[in-house]
Each structure stands twice: as C-alpha cells, then as structure tokens.
Symmetry: C2
C-alpha cells in the first residue's frame, strides 16, 4: 500500500490483515485493570504504561513514559521530520471502576463474541486508542509525509489532575501542529458525528452541621434543626427538581446558544428519543421532544444532585435527627460559561439565603468550543464519509474531557475529534463493549485523516476559531 | 417496716440495705446485650427473659414468660388476692444498639463510678425496671393491700410489633385496675415531671424511580430526570426545612393545643434552653425561646427527614445521575391527630402534585392523651413530692411508647407514668447511665404510689379522662 493506492478497499484489506494483532493488543490492555480512581491499582497503571510503551518498539517505532507527578503518560512517536506536519492523537488508558451490578462477564477478561469485544475499557478508551494506532501504522506503511505522536493519559477518569502540569513540564517535546482526540461518542451507529463543543463541569458540596451527634427525634423533633430537611430546602431553592431549571440569579446569563446551522446538524444527527432512552436505561425523561432533548444534553447547562451523606440509609427507618448532612452536586457548563463565575453565583446565593450552609467547590473543567471550519475540520468530515460511507455532522458532547482545553491552552494547537464509540457500547456502564465495525472503519478514518493532514501541511488554524458552523 | 412506718426515712434505709442487690441485678441484666433490632441477639433475649423471670422466684414471688410470636414478655406476680386492687408496672428489657462512636467503656459491661451506673440499658429501661421491682419489694414487706404485676416487654425499641397481639392473647391473665409505665424522662434533675401525653409517630418513605441504572451526567444531564433532585423538591413542597413548618393542607387541623393550666406546668418544669442543647449535643435550634421550644417538642407535630437512599455517598463526587432514590421520613403526632388520617393527607398531597412519587407508610404509633386528674393522678403527684422532696409537674413526652395506647385499649385500664430517667442519662446515646439518686428515690416513689393505690382501691377512673389539668 502506498499513498496513491490508499483506497477504502486497501484499507479494509489492511484492517482485516491486522485484526488478529488488534485483538491481541486490545486484550492485553483490557486485562490490566487500570482503574485510576482506585489507589490499589497503582502497580497496574505502571504495568499498563510499560506495555503500551513497549508496543511502539515492537512495531518499529519509539515510545516513552512521561512522569506527571501522578499517573504516567505514554508518549509514542512515529516520525521526526521537522519539515513535516505533526499530528498528536490523544487517548486515555485508564478506566472506570467495574463494580456495578449487571456485568455478565469478568470486566477485566476481554471476551470476543463475533465482532463484539467486551470488557471494561474496550470502548472507553483502549479500543479507540489501538484503532488510532493501527490507522497510524497504515499511514506509515503508505509513507504519508506526516509525523504522528500518541499521548495516552492515565488519569482521564478522575478529572486529569496532573495533566496540565505534565503538559507544561514537557511542552517542548510535545510541540505539535494539531491534536486529535479520540474519546467521544456518536449519536447512533451508522451516523458519524463529531463534537463542535464539550460541556464543562463544576462540582460542589453543600454541608450543614447543627449538632454533635444523632438526636432522638421524639425528644428534640420540632425544636432541633434537621440538616437533611434544611439542605433539601436549599436545593429546592437552587433549582426545580422536576424541570431541572436552575433558579440561581444569572446562572444562564453567559450561555451561548447554538446557531441555526448548528441546530440543522443536530437534526441530521440521527438522534432518536427511544434509542436514547434504551441506551441509557431511562424510563422517564423531562421532555420527549427530540430537539429539546438535544438542546438539554448539548446546549444547556445543568444542575444535578449526585448523592447525600448523613442520616440513616439502612433497612427500615431510624427516627434519628442527624447532626450534619452533605449534598454532592454538579453543574455541566456550556461554552460561554466560566466555572469560577458559576461557582461564585451559587456560593453567593446560598450565603445570602442560607448563611449557615457551607458551599465547597470540588473539581471543575472548563467547557470547550470546537472548530467547525477550515481545512482540518473539512478533513474530519471527509474522513468520516470516506471510512463509514455516511456524512458526519457536528453535534456536541454533553460530557467533559479535561485534557482538551489543557492541550489547546498549553500546546497552542487546535483540537479535533475523531471518536468511534457508540451509545450502545455502554460508556461507564456494565458490559462495556466495542466492535469490529467501528475498529476496522476507524483505522480507515485515521489513515484518511492523516493523509489530509499531510496534504494540508503546517498551517494550523488559529485556536480561537468560532464555535458555530 | 410496716404500712404505718413506711416513712421517707425507713424507705431510704430500705434502699441503702438493698443497694448491693440492686446493683447485682442491674449488672446481670445490662451485661446481656438485648438489642431487639439485631437478629443476632435472639438467644440473648431469651437468656435475659429467663434471668428476669427467675429473679421473681429468687425473691419469693412468681414469674413467667409470655409467648408473643416475637420476642418474649416477662410477667411477674406479687400477690393474687381478687379483692385487692391490682397495679401493673410496665418496663422494657430490650435496648438500643450500641455501635455509635463515643462510648468510653464497653456498653455491655456495667461500670460503677461512685453513684453512676454506666452501660447500655441502664436508664432505658433496665434501671427503672429494677427500681420499680425493689419499690414493690418494699411495699410487700410493708404488707400493703395491693396486688402487683410486672410486664417487661422486649420489643419496645423496635416499635412493639408483637405487643398488641400478646395483650389480646393473654388478656384474661393480664387483667389489672391500672398500669404504671416507667420509661419516661424528667426535664431536669431535681424537678420531677410526668407526661400528660405522648406524641405519636407516623413513619413513611418517598420513592421515585426514573431509570434502570446509573447514568453518566454528561451524557444525559438536563434530559434525564434526577430522582434525588426531584425528591428534594417534593420534600421542600411538603415542609419548610428551616422552620420545620409542614405545608400539607390540613396537617395541623386536628391538633389539640395545650391549655393554659398545662402551659403553667410547663413553665414550672425546669426546662432550660442551654441544658436542653447540652443534653442533646445541639449546636443550633429553630428558636431559643423556652416556651416555644417546649411547645415544639411536646405540643406540636413535626416532620423530619431521617435519611436518603440512592446516589453516591463515598468520598469525593461521582457525577452519575442515580436511577432511583428513597427519602425516609416521619411525623411526630400530638393528641387529637390520627396516624391514618395524617398519612392519607400526605399521600393525597404527593399524589396530586408529584404523581410519579410513591409514598409508603412504614410503622406508626398513635399519640396518647394522659390522665391528669383523679385520685391516681394525685397519687403520682404526691409520690414524687414524697420521694424527691420537690413538686412534680405535668409535661409531655415528645417521643412515643407504643405499648401505652395498646394497654389502655386492650386491658381497659388507665396508664400513669412514674419515670426516673434524666436527659443527662443519655437515652439512645453513648455512655448511657443511671444513678443511685434516681434509683434510691425511685424505690420510695413506687412504694408510696403503691400505698396510695392500696388506699384508693378498685375504682379505676374512666380511660377517657381529659388531657389538660
């Protein structure tokens, strides 16, 4: 295969030839339990990093492990010609915990069921990482004039606490013309989509303490303040729990609404209410209108309650008044919003109306506005159509990838998205899986994108490209 | 000692002579861990019941164990003359769990520290039981013309689930002219008080399920209903968490307010805001006004949240939207209110405004209106003044004793209260204790009351005596 003959057919033949190798590498990665949230997995993280580094050497390239102060980063290199454009592909090798009920197989044994690869991390994000790796091998076999780099993080699932520091520490070595992130999800199979933006995240905790220990609700009830009842009143003052509407003054002020052209893309994305419900196991939604739903998950900020600490949660009812309670919450933010400003509005509202309640910010991630025009954005569109035979649309990602904003900030290179996961793959869910249709097509996707990148050359767009198409 | 010489001095001498025996019996009872909420304590319950039954034989009387279908009841008999009045003294021998932090000694080893007896159950309710037992021994030594019965329940701390059935099954044998319950708490040391009423209890659970499993709040947040946020909105619609005011229509309609004479008693009860706060470890109250506080704990119904099930309550924040949530709640009810009618009002309110939320009633106890006039009520007053040298006032009990209403209903005998516990004894709290001042005085209290009961004879008041003095 050379550049002239890098057709869809030759890339399919490449993928079929490499399928056994793909499955071998994926299995070996999946079977190392790289749960970044679990301190007991520290040794596994390093074992996985070493395996991934050595993989580059086994295929004739170079790999190294970057120290971050936290979990390691694997950095792979294919080509070092300073005159050629450099594309860096970001994936992550850490995974979510897998202790939720519902797993039908051992999450850390990869099972192959026809074209389906099942196990924790298969789709998030080890499968897409290995897919991009093989897409790069194809590009290198075709002698495309492009340098390729691989940045495989191992703290993505815990909010990338060391990533910014690592990027700054190794900034010189990591210089790149553009970054491709492969950790996003299509709306549905057969309809490629790529995000024009990511929501940010601002997590926080409300705490109230009114006594020293559990009180007998008969002896004190009515007189004693009850931190659980009181925090529920606070939450209900902050938001309407049914509609989800946030009542904090100014909360929506900075929201940039999606433009008409962007909404057109959304309507062509293949979003289907029933499929959305089925994919996420949802029994009841706040609205059943498809466009309203897309606006809610892609274009609007949220406020959610994630948990409560305090009181009795065992069987039956223990009629004690708890001495303290804590409510864990978060807001997803959209482009235009600022994590600090949002937290400050919430803090000020609570301080004004409920002065005894303490509001503490936990971790935050800025929202991200994507690039939807220019040669590389066009290359993304073409590569999807080439690889999957269907047009790609710009949607948004409701979730947050902390590394994205960091890479634009520190490396000064625009970030594009070549995601391959599907809602049915079960991100963060039991029986997570990935499949050969996405993997084989994904290799062609990356190879085609690298071909465009080689052709476009070293002409990065400005990072401040507008968000809407 | 005979009836003519049953002076305060002779009863003090009796108590001092019997102190060693009292401590011996109390220790043996406390060191059997009779935690009725713990299924692992089943053998201990029976061991304790047999010990208590045998105690009656050891002192020359009769005891037996009544089968209830649940935990046993110990029934002791001192005297069987059909022409004499019969007084039945109710206590309970089961205890609260003792796994809360803060215990300085093993809760199931009784430690004696001067005049203080420490251990789980010392004040609630094994100490008062043994005190009444010795008061009865004194009465019997004085040949008072009265039959005495002891009814020692072993399911009080779990809401007396078998008690009504047991009373009905053994109704004939249990016939009595009046009942004395010794399981209540004074307002403060040195100021005897006896309840003119008990609050009832109605416990219930709100449940909402909107999905099948945890959802990723980035992928679904804004669209998916969040059962935690939604139930918080429901609770905030049902009550004001800060003031505790219940917003359910009609909730307060049946409340019988305390009369002026009753409020006079309350003002003389020795209630002190600072002591109340210290006794219960309270840092902050809904009001600091003493009369308002007494009204809140004795004369007004409540609504409290006791716990939440659903979502993530570990360290940090997991940004999942939970599929279901449950809120555990209760109301304390005051005389005039009805558990069934109150539940129905709550159910109807939630059904009207939040039709997807399920409201399930858990256990309930009717409020109780006490007897504050007539010869036995006067006997209670005199016995306290005689034993403790201070006037007794009628207050209320904020908590609920399930057996009280049942005994009036099934045995048709009025119930009076001769409580001995103090707030500083730590009901349901770590380092629970009882003391010799209350025990020695308590023996005189019971002996004096039995003397009055013998004099008054078989003339029970009607059970429907008015509540207010």
């Amino acid at each position: 295969m050379d550049a002239e003959t890098m057709t869809r057919e030759s890339l399919q033949a490449f993928a079929d030839r490499r399928r056994e190798g793909f499955e071998w590498e994926l299995r070996n990665l999946v079977e190392i339990p790289t749960i970044s949230a679990d301190p007991g997995c520290r040794d596994h993280m390093w074992r996985c990093a070493e395996y991934a580094r050595d993989m580059f050497f086994r295929y004739g390239y170079e790999g190294e492990i970057l120290e971050t102060g936290g979990q390691p980063i694997v950095y792979g290199t294919m080509g070092r010609d300073p005159h050629l454009p450099t594309v860096t592909i970001y994936n992550h090798l850490d995974v979510q915990p897998a202790n939720e009920p519902g797993w039908l197989t051992d999450p850390f044994r990869m099972t192959i069921d026809g074209d389906v690869f099942r196990g924790r991390g298969t789709t998030d994000d080890k499968g897409p990482a290995i897919t991009a790796f093989y897409g790069a091998i194809a590009a290198k076999e075709a002698n495309l004039p492009v340098n390729l780099r691989f940045l495989w993080e191992m703290e993505e699932e815990v909010g990338s606490p060391s990533f910014r520091n690592a990027m700054e520490r190794h900034r010189g070595k990591l210089a790149t013309d553009l970054v491709v992130v492969s950790d996003t999800i299509w709306v549905t199979r057969g309809k490629p989509s790529t995000p024009a933006g990511l929501r940010g995240l601002m997590t926080f905790v409300l705490t109230l303490e009114t006594a020293e220990h559990d009180m007998h609700s008969g002896l004190v009830g009515g007189a004693a303040r009850n931190p659980l009842s009181e925090l529920m009143t606070v939450v209900a003052a902050m938001m309407d729990g049914e509609s989800g509407k946030v009542k904090i003054p100014g909360f929506y002020d900075d929201v940039e609404k999606p433009g008409d052209e962007e909404l057109e893309h959304w309507l062509r994305s293949g979003f289907d209410v029933d499929v959305f419900k089925r994919d996420h196991g949802i029994k009841s939604l706040r609205t059943e209108d498809p466009l309203k739903l897309m606006k809610r998950i892609w274009g609007r900020p949220t406020m959610d309650v994630h948990g409560v600490v305090g009181g009795y949660s065992g069987p039956g009812i223990k009629t004690a008044v708890p001495p303290r309670a804590e409510v864990k919450m978060s807001c997803r933010l959209v482009p235009g919003m600022d994590t600090r400003r949002t937290f400050e509005r919430i803090r000020a509202f609570v301080a004004k109306h409920f002065p005894d309640v303490v509001v503490r910010e936990d971790h935050s991630l800025a929202p991200f506005r994507g690039h939807v025009s220019g040669p590389h954005a066009e290359a993304v569109m073409d590569a999807y159509r080439f690889a999957f035979g269907a047009p790609c649309v710009f949607t948004r990602e409701g979730g947050s990838i902390g590394a994205v904003k960091t890479m634009e900030d520190v490396l000064g290179a625009p970030v594009y998205f070549l995601g391959l996961s599907l809602p049915s793959h079960g991100y963060h869910a039991p029986n997570e899986n990935y499949d050969w249709e996405q993997a084989g097509g994904g290799m062609a996707l990356f190879a085609r994108f690298f071909e465009h990148a080689a052709r476009i050359g070293r002409s990065p767009e400005p990072v401040s490209a507008p968000v809407t198409a």
